[in-house]
Symmetry: C3
């Protein structure tokens, strides 16, 4: 693409030769000839001249540069938008690969592609332009919206509802049974049938090897725009609000309700039936054990507001100082007691805490 | 189903019109016309009249209700039993889907179903009425009992032994190599062949995307009735006792032995070669680093008895108070020292711990 | 195999009848007739005579034994080498199973085996003797070296580069999209195209249901000889050095750089963009939040050097003693204040910390 054309599409100000062709995008240090790079951090500007990049996106107001330049207030955003122009995911050929087993009752909208060796059960519907990769399974009665992408080896059980522009990565399992048992009169654990559904709303993205259990009754629901990283567990009857972000290896227990715009960092755990409000951030490896109202950053296991967590860590770090202070105090006490000892009857023995070892 | 018939099957006492038909089951607030609901918590009884439910299961001794009612001492259990009557999993049609690759030496008992695009290797045996879903793999020589259900995309390696009524959810991998290496004389890490097996006893349930490694020698074993949630890792040579429950994202390291009726909450970790007795509960995100005898609840990382854990948390919370107390003591000391100062030679400097910041 | 032959191959010293045949290998307590066992721990030597093992590998210098014996300085290593002689993984028959879908542009070296129902996309190359199991997916343009083994249901996306002797276990997903979004001017989260690659160097082993994301640009790279356990998450642009070990359920966030010979125990988390030097060990459930230079053992969340962690734990355990010490000090102070009380004006109230409850 010509740099001039790119400048227009990205709404950047062009400085220098707009006739050059840009073939690839790359980071500053990996860029080769014909590549477009970008600089976000002013510290990297000096590296610019040494880079092989043919052109560069930099921030408005940066010092001038010998290469053709696209100027913008948000160079990283412009670069990402350029990436989206250059690298559209492979358009799969519409149609059903002959090796796939698609039930005759399945209804496919226009331009749906189904890759090889997939299984699509009865009464499934798939919306326009959606791409179902190889070796995917879609269970009976599930509905998939338009412009979705299910990567190879995705598994969708029966009665799952998926909105538009949903992306599901390989190995994800959507709609497995919730983990529910009950002891009967004899104390034997019996399985609670899991007859609910999973609903993934529009613009949701689900990472590789994620598991989302169907509801016992009703629905497990991931609301519009929420992005879920790899290896996350979402239990039965969970509701995750809109525009959330859940990082890898987090686990959300049964019936948890999470508000909008919530961020869970990696390896977070949330116990069952807890409610989390809007705009909450939970730090990595934190464990949420009780309700969190809206807003705030929570850390630790059990999770507490981040200032309380930092106070706790600081407090533990001060224990050695505390012990030394006690030693000094005991010395001063002993000295005072010596000074007025004649007047006292039975001084307590000067047993020092600082000599006692840890339990 | 007629309410009268349901009352008999659930052994509930019927009050009101037994002739009405129940079509579905639902929670109280989701119930529509023709639905049977239930009330466990007396606080929800007032919502009963406003519900659209056609009939309701409530506890014996509850105040009378205008709807036809099933009375029982355990309304949730009765409801779950009703769920089991209403929602039997889809009976798969017995037979082998023609797209599956089943070795000629495989022995299938009566009424086995094998879905499309599955692979069943040589010398596998599968018991009566077991259902193998689509795109499943069963390795050479593995034996599967009766009335099992392997959901689509389950992977069972060679020489795995599975009892009766075992359920395995999609994406689970049973029998992958244990994680074992040894350095040779040159310090090069060589792979220890993993030539043992996995045994899943009767009534075990394995969640989606679980991994259970085969033993180095001998067997990794999950005993009768134990239920394992999604994304759990069971390493080589682990033994998990009967009737246990292991929640999502827990990891059990090599050669761990766990007793009967043990509960591990979510994201629990257990280091290798540790033994855990019967009837132990380990709380969410706890890390078990040494032997736990039978009984008790353990929390924290490293895990300690739950009272010790609570004492630790309380102790840390008291550190700010400790610091304030020290400040007061130092003031009183200084005041005393001032009062008798004439008689003392070299008073120690009044350095206060409370002015020293955290490290 | 004859014991004499085995002794030569393992370079052990043979004592006793070298003509006997060894059929299987087993642990001492599981060994049956015809089995070769081993003793590493001298405590187990007394059990040797009671074992049914036909022969045994023991350490040079052990007391003599009535069974035919192989003597060596490292009996476990010799046993593992014997395991490797006895149990070579099933040699798959070279060739492409007719049920697999292999693009005509795929280049296969000699003796490659591709199992049933796999999909190999355009421009893939696979090196000599590599075995691709059943139901595997290999995306467009990926390259796989010689002597690799991809177990059934492995998923490799496009443009992945895999070295020689790499083992990938079932359910692993190599090359899924990195988890990257950016807010545009309207605050809408847009997906950052993930156009980089994954490189797995020679002798890497990847566990079951592992996820390794492709780089945003450039490559996510696992260097030579590193072994990764089940259910591990490796995010985009991570580099893991040579000869490392990463245990199950660990998560490494985006752009983390890890040196050579690093060990991460189970459920470790590392925040994004952190660097870890060579020869570092991180303990189970630790959370690395900042740079770690080379060497050392790190524990806790946030992770600290292991001595600091142990001091922290010991310090918290001493808080109850601290409280008791304060109580004694306050008593001594009160006694002193009483003794010289006449000379003081306003003694501060004797408020005791030890009476204040936790918050």
């Amino acid at each position: 693409m010509q740099l001039r054309e790119l400048a227009e599409k990205l709404r950047c100000r062009l400085v220098g030769d707009g006739e050059i062709e840009v073939h690839h995008l790359a980071s500053l240090h990996e860029a080769g000839e014909g590549d477009l790079a970008f600089v976000v951090n002013p510290r990297d500007l000096p590296k610019l001249e040494a880079s092989k990049a043919a052109a560069v996106i930099i921030r408005e107001g940066s010092p001038p540069c010998s290469k053709p330049t696209l100027l913008t207030n948000d160079p990283y955003l412009a670069f990402v938008q350029a990436l989206r122009l250059f690298y559209t995911p492979d358009r799969a050929m519409p149609g059903i690969h002959p090796s796939s087993i698609v039930h005759e009752s399945v209804r496919l909208a226009e331009d749906v592609a189904i890759g090889p060796l997939s299984v699509v059960e009865a009464d499934v519907t798939i919306g326009r332009r959606s791409v179902v990769g190889a070796q995917v399974y879609i269970g009976k009665g599930s509905r998939i919206g338009a412009d979705c992408r299910l990567y190879p080896q995705v598994m969708v059980r029966e009665d799952v509802e998926i909105g538009d522009r949903v992306i599901i990565h390989s190995g994800a399992v959507i709609g497995s049974d919730g983990f529910g048992y009950l002891r009967d009169e004899q104390g034997v654990r019996i399985k609670i049938p899991q007859v609910g559904r999973v609903i993934l709303e529009d613009d949701v993205e689900i990472g590789a090897n994620v598991t989302i259990d169907r509801a016992t009754m009703g629905a497990t629901r991931i609301k519009r725009g929420t992005k879920i990283d790899n290896l996350v567990q979402i239990a039965h009857n969970v509701v995750v609000g809109e525009d959330g972000v859940i990082a890898a290896l987090s686990g959300i227990s049964g019936s948890v309700k999470i508000g909008d715009r919530v961020t869970l960092a990696g390896q977070v755990g949330i116990v069952d039936h807890v409610e989390i409000g809007d705009d909450v951030t939970v730090g990595a490896q934190a464990g949420v054990a009780k309700r969190i109202p809206s807003g705030g950053v929570f850390l630790g296991s059990p999770a507490v507001p981040h200032l309380a967590f930092k106070r706790s860590v600081a407090a533990v770090n001060r224990i050695p100082q505390l012990l030394m202070a006690l030693k000094r105090i005991e010395a001063r006490l002993a000295s005072l007691e010596g000074a007025i000892g004649k007047r006292r009857d039975t001084p307590p023995p000067p047993q020092s805490v600082s000599e006692a070892g840890p339990r």
